[in-house]
C-alpha cells in the first residue's frame, strides 16, 4: 500500500530527550493482551504474496528486492 499522508504534525522532541541511536524501546506487543489467532482468507493477490513470504520464510524487504 502507498504511504498515507498525515497532516497533523508530530510533537516537538522534549527538552533533554536523549537516547542511544535516538531510539528508546519501551513496551512490546503481547500475545495475551494485544493479539489473537485468526484465519486469513486464502484469496486475492496480497494473500498470495503473504503465502509466498511465509512459505519461503522471507521478510517484506527481502520480498521487495
Amino acid at each position: 500500500m502507498e504511504a498515507t499522508v498525515i497532516p497533523l504534525p508530530l510533537p516537538v522532541l522534549p527538552e533533554g530527550w536523549e537516547a542511544e541511536n535516538n531510539f528508546k524501546a519501551i513496551g512490546k506487543i503481547t500475545q495475551e493482551s494485544a493479539a489473537t489467532q485468526r484465519t486469513l482468507e486464502p484469496v486475492g493477490p496480497y494473500f498470495l504474496a503473504h503465502a509466498r513470504r511465509a512459505r519461503h520464510k522471507r521478510t517484506f524487504s527481502e520480498d521487495d528486492r
Binding site: L10, K28, E41, V43
Partner: protein, 583 residues
C-alpha cells in the same frame, strides 16, 4: 483441498479456469479477459442461471428452461438442492422442495426420484444429490466451454461461510465426476470483496466491510476486516427466513387475495399446486420489476378455474406489505456487526450481494442503520456498485485467474492452516500527533485486526521542522456519546411534555420512556481513538521547515516490531526494534 479422486487434475499449462457461483436458487459462470472479470451468459442469454434441472421425454433441461417446467412438470424437476450436498436426510430443510421433486432419504445422503429417460417402460431413476450436482455442473461448464470456444477444465467455486468440510468434499467430488477440477473453494462474501478490490480502479485500503449476501432461500452476512488487501472474517450470521422467497410469498398472498376479491366464487389459487406455481413465477418477476420501476404489472393466464388475472402494484405498496422481511434483514445485519464486537460506526462499507440486494428499499434501510460515512454499495445507492447478482462470480473468476498457473500441490500448501492461521493485532499501532487545539491525538498506522507479518508506512508532517518525536503507541477506539444540550430548562420541558401528552389524549405511556426516546434521537455518537501503552520513542533531528517524516512500522509473525523514522528525502534516520512477545 481434499482429494479429488484418483485422477490427477490437468497440468497448469493445459487449464482453462473459470469462476462459478453455485447457489440454491441461481448459479453463474465468469471468466477473466484482459484482467477484467466478466459474467458469461449461457445459451439462453442468462447470467443468473437457475440451479434447476428438469427432465421431459428423456431430454434434460437446465436453468431458466427447467425453471419454467415447475408449472407443467414439477415432479421431474429438481430444484433447491445445493445445501443438501454432504448432508444426511435428517439434517436438511426440504421447505423449498414442495413444488418440485421431493428429497428422499438415501443412506448417508439425499436423493430425488425423477423420470429422466424417455418412455414410461424405462421407469424413474433415483439420483442422489451428488449426481444431481454433477449433472448440473456439467451443464454450467458446457455453457462456459461453448462461450469460450475451449473446454473449461478447472474452476474456483464459491461456498457459504458455514459450509462444512463434508459439504466441501461432496462438492469437490461432484465436480470431479463432471470432469471439473476445483482449484479452490472460496467463501462467498470474500469473493464479493475481491470483486470490488480487483476492479482496475479498485483501491486497496484498510477498512471494515459488511457483506450482506441476500439470496433466494438464505441471507448470509459477514463482517470482514480488509487489511492491505488481505481479508479476515470477523463474524458471520445466517438466516433462512428473511430472503428472496419470503418476498415472493408476500406478493403471492397479495395477488391471491386480490384475485379472490375480484372473483369471489373462484377457488384460492394458493390451494392448487399448478396455480400456485404460476403465482410464484409471476410474483418473482413482478418483484424484480419493482426493483427497477415504481410500478409493475402482474399477469397470469388461467390462474384458477380457468380465469385470467392481471393487476399492477406500485413500489410503495410493495414496500409496505414486505416491511417485516426488510426489517428482518436489517436486524440480521445489525446482529452480525454486534457479533463481531463492533459498532455501526466501525463499518466503512456495506457490500450488497445476491439477487435480493437489487431491492432499493433494502439499501435505503441499511443507509439509515449506518452512519452517513458508511458507503452502501448497491445499485440504487452508488453508481459505481457492481451488479449484486454478479459480484461473487466475478471474484471467483479473479481468483481462478490468479491461481490457475500454480500446481495443485502449491495451492494446497498455500491454503493450509499453517499459512492462513496467524496472529492478528488486537489494538491499533500508531503514533502521536498534535491537533489544532495543541492536544495529543492517536494516529493509527496499523489498524486492529491486521494479520501479521504486516508493514505500513505513513508520512507525518513536521511543519515547523527541527527535532521531532515519533512516539509509537497502541491505541483503541471507544464510542463517545454526547447527550444533546437541553433546549429549555428542565422544569419547563417537563411542562411541555405534559402538554404533549394531553394533546395525544389517550397516550398513557410513562413520561420517562418518552424522555429516553427523544434523547436517543438527538444524541451524538462518534468513534474516538484512545491512546494506549507506549511501545517506543524515536527522535528525528534537524528536520527542514515544512518537512515530512516517514514512519514505517513492521510487525513480525512473532509480534516483534521494527520502527523506522526518517525525514522524507533525508538521509539516515532512526531504526529500532522491539523484542518479540515472550515465547
Amino acid at each position: 483441498m481434499s482429494d479429488t479422486g484418483s485422477k490427477p487434475g490437468p497440468e497448469p499449462s493445459e487449464r482453462t479456469a473459470i469462476g462459478i457461483t453455485f447457489g440454491n436458487s441461481n448459479s453463474s459462470i465468469a471468466y477473466v479477459v484482459d484482467d477484467k472479470a466478466e459474467v458469461i451468459a449461457n445459451e439462453d442469454g442468462d447470467r443468473q442461471i437457475p440451479t434447476i434441472l428438469s427432465y421431459v421425454d428423456g431430454d434434460e433441461y437446465y436453468g431458466q428452461q427447467a425453471k419454467n417446467f415447475l408449472v407443467r412438470n414439477p415432479k421431474n424437476t429438481v430444484a433447491y438442492f445445493r445445501d443438501f450436498l454432504g448432508k444426511e436426510f435428517k439434517s436438511i430443510d426440504p421447505t423449498h422442495n414442495h413444488a418440485s421433486a421431493h428429497p428422499e432419504e438415501a443412506g448417508e445422503t439425499v436423493s430425488f426420484t425423477v423420470q429422466d429417460k424417455a418412455g414410461e417402460e424405462e421407469g424413474p431413476s433415483t439420483l442422489n444429490v451428488s449426481e444431481v450436482a454433477t449433472r448440473y455442473l456439467r451443464r454450467l461448464v458446457g455453457s462456459a466451454s461453448d462461450y469460450l470456444g475451449k473446454k473449461v477444465t478447472s474452476a474456483v467455486v464459491t461456498v457459504p461461510t458455514d459450509f462444512t468440510d463434508k459439504q466441501k468434499a461432496a462438492l469437490v467430488a461432484a465436480a470431479a465426476a463432471a470432469d471439473l477440477e476445483i482449484l479452490q473453494l472460496i467463501s462467498e462474501p470474500v469473493a464479493a470483496v475481491l470483486a470490488y478490490d480487483g476492479r482496475p480502479e479498485g483501491k486497496i485500503e484498510d477498512k471494515v466491510i459488511v457483506v450482506a449476501d441476500l439470496g433466494g432461500t438464505r441471507s448470509d452476512v459477514a463482517v470482514v476486516a480488509s487489511r492491505g488487501g488481505m481479508y479476515t472474517v470477523l463474524a458471520t450470521v445466517h438466516d433462512y427466513e428473511f430472503a428472496g422467497v419470503a418476498l415472493d410469498k408476500v406478493l403471492i398472498d397479495h395477488f391471491a387475495k386480490e384475485f379472490l376479491k375480484k372473483n369471489s366464487s373462484a377457488k384460492d389459487p394458493r390451494e392448487n399446486a399448478r396455480s400456485l406455481a404460476k403465482l410464484r413465477l409471476e410474483s418473482e418477476s413482478t418483484k424484480r420489476a419493482l426493483s427497477l420501476g415504481n410500478n409493475a404489472s402482474f399477469s397470469v393466464e388461467s390462474l384458477s378455474d380457468g380465469i385470467d388475472f392481471a393487476s399492477t402494484i406500485n413500489r410503495l405498496r410493495y414496500e409496505t406489505i414486505a416491511r417485516t422481511v426488510f426489517e428482518g434483514i436489517n436486524r440480521l445485519v445489525e446482529s452480525a456487526v454486534k457479533k463481531a464486537g463492533l459498532d455501526v460506526l466501525d463499518i466503512d462499507e456495506v457490500i450488497l450481494s445476491g439477487g435480493t440486494s437489487h431491492t432499493p428499499r433494502i439499501a435505503t434501510n441499511l443507509g439509515y442503520l449506518f452512519p452517513q460515512t458508511t458507503k452502501i454499495l448497491a445499485p440504487s445507492t452508488e453508481v459505481t456498485a457492481l451488479n449484486p447478482s454478479e459480484a461473487e462470480a466475478r471474484g471467483a473468476a479473479l481468483q481462478a485467474s490468479l491461481i490457475q498457473d500454480y500446481e495443485a500441490e502449491d495451492i494446497n500448501q498455500s491454503t493450509h492452516a499453517a499459512v492462513t492461521t496467524v496472529p492478528h493485532v488486537g489494538n491499533a499501532i500508531g503514533v502521536i500527533s498534535v491537533n489544532e487545539a495543541g492536544e495529543e491525538v492517536f494516529v493509527p498506522i496499523i489498524p486492529p485486526e491486521t494479520a501479521v507479518p504486516a508493514r505500513r508506512t505513513v508520512h507525518v508532517s513536521a511543519p515547523s521542522g527541527g527535532d521531532v518525536l515519533v512516539k509509537v503507541v497502541e491505541g483503541n477506539t471507544h464510542i463517545k456519546v454526547t447527550q444533546p444540550e437541553p433546549k429549555v430548562k428542565a422544569p419547563e420541558s417537563k411542562a411541555a411534555k405534559v402538554e404533549d401528552a394531553d394533546e395525544d389524549g389517550d397516550d398513557d405511556s410513562d413520561f420517562s420512556d418518552d424522555d429516553d426516546e427523544e434523547e436517543d434521537e438527538e444524541e451524538k455518537r462518534e468513534k474516538v481513538w484512545k491512546i494506549g501503552a507506549t511501545l517506543a520513542e524515536a527522535g528525528v533531528k534537524g528536520v527542514k521547515k515544512n518537512g515530512k517524516v516517514e514512519v514505517s512500522i513492521t510487525v513480525g509473525s512473532d509480534l516483534s516490531v521494527i520502527v523506522t523514522a526518517r525525514e522524507v528525502g533525508g538521509k539516515g534516520g532512526v531504526r529500532g526494534t522491539l523484542a518479540a512477545a515472550s515465547a
